[in-house]
Symmetry: C2
Subunit: 199 residues, 2 copies
């Protein structure tokens, strides 16, 4: 059984892949709209983790629609959720994909599918959508991360990560300058995986 | 890192243990009030799965309180949730226990802790409460079960399983006769694990 793990290069998606590895053939998949080399950054991390990796490039109209949403809302939640759902649907539409894994944790709020959206995607595309960390709190995730990964943490603007935020921020910066990003996105700590600890 | 997996001998708790096995030292723990030999039945299944197992015997007053609740309510939800929470707190109070794993799935409704109850238990006892299957839907669980376990399924009254329902049903039968059970518990299919498939 093969699983496609949605991969940002961060600790949660990396740990999800590691937890699935004994039970599935794992491939890591990164979503990029080609504004920044986020796919390549993720590919490098994937190689250090020891998993095959591919980049998918959904239509840039998805990023543009997310950009319109965030400019209208003034906050990122709906835009991030929209890209996230579009990425999952893009993956689910691939006839070679049966299991999709998402790195969200118990305490995550964004991005997040509603239960009705999950059921709809599973039914429409005949896939299994799985969140291996959904039953784990922050402290338990940290224990597992410390055991299996070496990470660096930094503020969002200093760590290049292949999450949905990165290219959305870039599009805002191109259109409005970097100060606009600070208005819209709360400053928060990002993790980037450096390497895997092997026993 | 050792994890104590709450174990009923059913497919969900068995699969939870299997998913955790590569990352933790797994022990299976079954809760019994000694009305029926459910602990011994679970111990036999645990041996076939290849995991160490122990039985804990919380005070029978917990079963009695659950019995009062179910007789007053006329349905099992609150009584089952009460035993479940008491079992977790009993485990969490053990100073050798740091990680507790529960076999509930994404689509389960009972038993279920509220998020505030989970946080309260984690904070009060300094434990991590984890649900390895919480991010998996029924179909994905079934795929994993088929790959790793041989199970038998049958109606609740025909399959002796070490879940909370079993001894609660027995207490009702002793006090009111077997017909009372059918009034209170919906008939549903139970699974019991026969053996583990090894690659």
């Amino acid at each position: 059984m093969q699983v496609s793990v949605m991969f940002s290069g961060g600790k949660d998606s990396s740990l999800s892949a590691i937890l699935l590895e004994p039970f599935f053939e794992v491939e890591l998949v990164t979503c990029s709209f080609s504004l920044l080399p986020v796919g390549e950054v993720a590919a490098e991390t994937a190689e250090r983790l020891g998993f095959p990796h591919r980049i998918i490039n959904p239509d840039v109209s998805i990023l543009e629609k997310a950009y319109d949403m965030i400019m209208e809302d003034g906050f990122p939640k709906n835009a991030i959720n929209f890209i996230h759902k579009s990425f999952i649907e893009h993956l689910a539409a691939d006839s070679n994909v049966t299991f999709i894994a998402d790195g969200i944790r118990r305490d995550d709020r964004v991005p997040m599918l509603e239960m009705s959206q999950i059921r709809s995607i599973e039914d429409r595309f005949g896939v299994h959508y799985m969140c291996p960390l959904k039953g784990y709190g922050r402290a338990a995730v940290n224990e597992l991360v410390n055991k299996h990964l070496v990470i660096e943490e930094g503020l969002s603007e200093d760590v290049l990560k292949a999450d949905y935020e990165t290219e959305l921020r870039e599009m805002i910066a191109r259109n409005h300058g970097p100060d606009k990003i600070k208005e819209i996105f709360p400053t928060h700590v990002q993790s980037h995986v450096i390497e895997r600890k092997r026993a």
